[in-house]
């Protein structure tokens, strides 16, 4: 199990002067602009923001799937130039290989590294045991529930012992109960492995509950609007979500995001529209009223 149980934190992510634009027939569209973020070794950091703000774009650039138009992405001082097993990724659509059994999915990264079959089988079994999935090692993903699929997805990403784990709205497709369980499992694994996590979500509660720090992004073109430390102590319990401290953080983040969401909707909600809804603005900004 030397691949996963490393005790010194690692994986220092730095994104500097980052911007990303893509070409269309109407000209360049700026998806993300002037962004700096960092994740300290062993830290759990979330990115929240209105839909379409470029948070997934940013994550994909850290994964190495997208090249920044300007700026640089480094992990432990090394420039990111393409996808690598050093940066494990978990996708919202689970993205398990349907033609591989649960165990073969988990083994995949080790196989790519050239580990002999018997050795990687043993490693995969141990990992699946930690996630409570050993009974399902021979199943094909199609037979699993969403929560189980995503547990396999996380275990698969962690099997090669990456320095950082990147998650792109991993629990977005799960029901509320399963999501809570998955959050606990992720927290447990993160604390045990001591790796850095960059987590993209649109769920504010999830971001606060999981993270050491939360970045809030602006509407497109996305940039960092605010950086909010989450001083809640660990281990965190579900009951903390009712504490005044949690609720205060939630209120703060909520209003930040609401402002941006309204901006993102642009002309769709204007004063005229609001009159139709019988809401008087009295000179206040829309964000204050809603």
């Amino acid at each position: 199990m030397s691949e996963v149980s490393v005790n010194t934190p690692k994986g220092h992510i730095e994104v500097k002067n980052f911007s990303l634009a893509y070409e269309t027939i109407e000209g360049a569209v700026q998806a993300v602009t002037d962004t700096q973020i960092h994740v300290k070794p062993g830290e759990f950091v979330s990115i929240v923001g209105p839909s379409g703000c470029g948070k997934s774009t940013l994550l994909n650039a850290v994964a190495g799937f997208l090249k920044p138009t300007t700026g640089i992405v480094t992990v432990d001082g090394e420039r990111v130039s393409g996808p690598s097993a050093e940066r494990g990724m978990v996708f919202q659509q689970y993205s398990l290989f349907p033609w591989k059994t649960v165990r073969e999915n988990v083994e995949f990264g080790l196989k790519m590294r050239g580990m002999p079959r018997s050795q990687r089988e043993r490693a995969a079994r141990t990992l699946l045991g930690l996630a409570g999935l050993e009974a399902f090692e021979k199943h094909y993903p199609e037979k699993l529930s969403g929560g189980m699929k995503q547990r396999v997805g996380i275990v698969r990403a962690l099997a090669t012992g990456p320095k950082v784990l990147l998650l792109d709205e991993p629990f977005g497709a799960l029901d509320a109960q399963t999501r809570v369980i998955m959050q606990q499992i992720l927290t447990n694994m993160w604390q045990r492995l001591k790796i850095s996590v960059l987590f993209v979500t649109h769920d504010i509660d999830e971001a606060i509950f999981l993270s050491d720090r939360v970045y809030c992004m602006t509407a497109r073109p996305g940039s960092i609007k605010a950086e909010i430390p989450i001083p809640l102590e660990r281990p965190r319990q579900q009951s903390m979500m009712m504490s005044s401290e949690f609720l205060a953080l939630r209120r703060g983040l909520m209003s930040l995001i609401r402002e941006e969401s309204l901006k993102a909707m642009g002309g769709e909600i204007n004063d005229m529209g609001m009159q139709g809804l019988n809401i008087e603005l009295h000179g206040h900004s829309l964000a204050d009223v809603i």
Binding site: A85, G88, F91, Q93, W99, M112, T160
Partner: protein, 290 residues
């Protein structure tokens, strides 16, 4: 918390039912019947429908019905059965069948050996696609039977030209379906493989190939059907042996019962070969078994 996680992953409630005495044969038979009722129904109706078909055929030919279509010379099912029981002991008839099967085997195998890899490579490398696709699109609509004169010119022996026609018939469905499968490969799965350390060659072998297999098998099934169509046409025109030649010869020799026998043999052989392909598909793709 891990307890809840495990509970979700717990085995099916089958383990909870208290141990009872083994059920009697009667209850087992009843249960089996209940579980397979839909299948039994389909089989029963299928048998009845085939019998009805034979009955109608029998009546039409016994009474030599003439009603737009003339059944005066059409052999009755009993006459066909009589010629079948004679033919089954006739080494010449068996040779016709064997030769047709051999031509199908060689022509179809060559088409699969060339068509599948070409489709995979065309799907992965744009340049190959751009070069091959226009030529393939022009040749594709030409029915295999139109190739007969050309095939006779191209190949030194009749046998080779017939195999060539069979090859052509199955080649294009196989190529087109493989290409289609390649175009539908989920890019997220490719990304997942990349962040697990997979390089080009592994991605091809571990993602693109298995992901397009279902469509490859669709192509093989369709290709097998067209292979038989092309083979029979070629045998009727230029053959000296084969089940197609047998059928045509029966007409020339006024052996009307043998015409129907040849037709039925072709039908059964075609059905048998698609069953073989479907079985192979299920073996190669255990994950898609319902």
């Amino acid at each position: 918390m891990p307890a809840t996680a495990l509970a979700e992953a717990g085995p099916a409630p089958a383990a909870v039912t208290p141990p009872t005495a083994p059920p009697s044969f009667g209850t087992l038979a009843l249960r089996w019947y209940r579980l397979n009722r839909a299948g039994l129904r389909a089989t029963a109706i299928g048998v009845i429908s085939l019998l009805a078909f034979l009955m109608v055929w029998h009546l039409l030919t016994t009474y030599r019905v003439v009603f737009f279509v003339r059944f005066t010379n059409v052999p009755s099912p009993l006459a066909v059965y009589a010629s079948f029981s004679k033919a089954i002991h006739d080494p010449k008839f068996l040779m016709h069948i064997l030769l047709s099967c051999r031509r199908i085997f060689i022509g179809f195998s060559l088409a699969a050996i060339v068509g599948v890899p070409l489709g995979l490579i065309m799907g992965r490398f744009k340049l190959v696609h751009e070069i091959v696709f226009p030529v393939a699109e022009v040749l594709r609509p030409i029915p295999a039977i139109a190739w007969v004169p050309m095939a006779i010119m191209l190949w030194p022996t009749n046998e080779q030209s017939i195999v060539f026609i069979t090859f052509l018939g199955s080649f294009f469905p196989i190529l087109v379906n493989t290409l289609h499968g390649m175009s539908l490969v989920d890019p997220v799965l490719v990304r997942a493989a990349q962040c697990l350390g997979a390089r080009e060659r592994s991605i091809f072998r571990e993602v693109y190939f298995p992901a397009s297999l279902p469509h490859v098998f669709t192509g093989l099934t369709v290709g097998m059907g067209v292979a038989w169509v092309s083979l029979i046409a070629a045998e009727m025109i230029s053959g000296q042996y084969g089940i197609g030649y047998f059928t045509w010869e029966a007409y020339s020799l006024v052996q009307y019962a043998d015409i129907a026998l040849g037709m039925i043999a072709i039908g059964v052989l075609g059905l048998g070969s698609s069953v073989l392909i479907r079985g192979a598909g299920r073996l190669v793709m255990p994950w898609s078994a319902k």
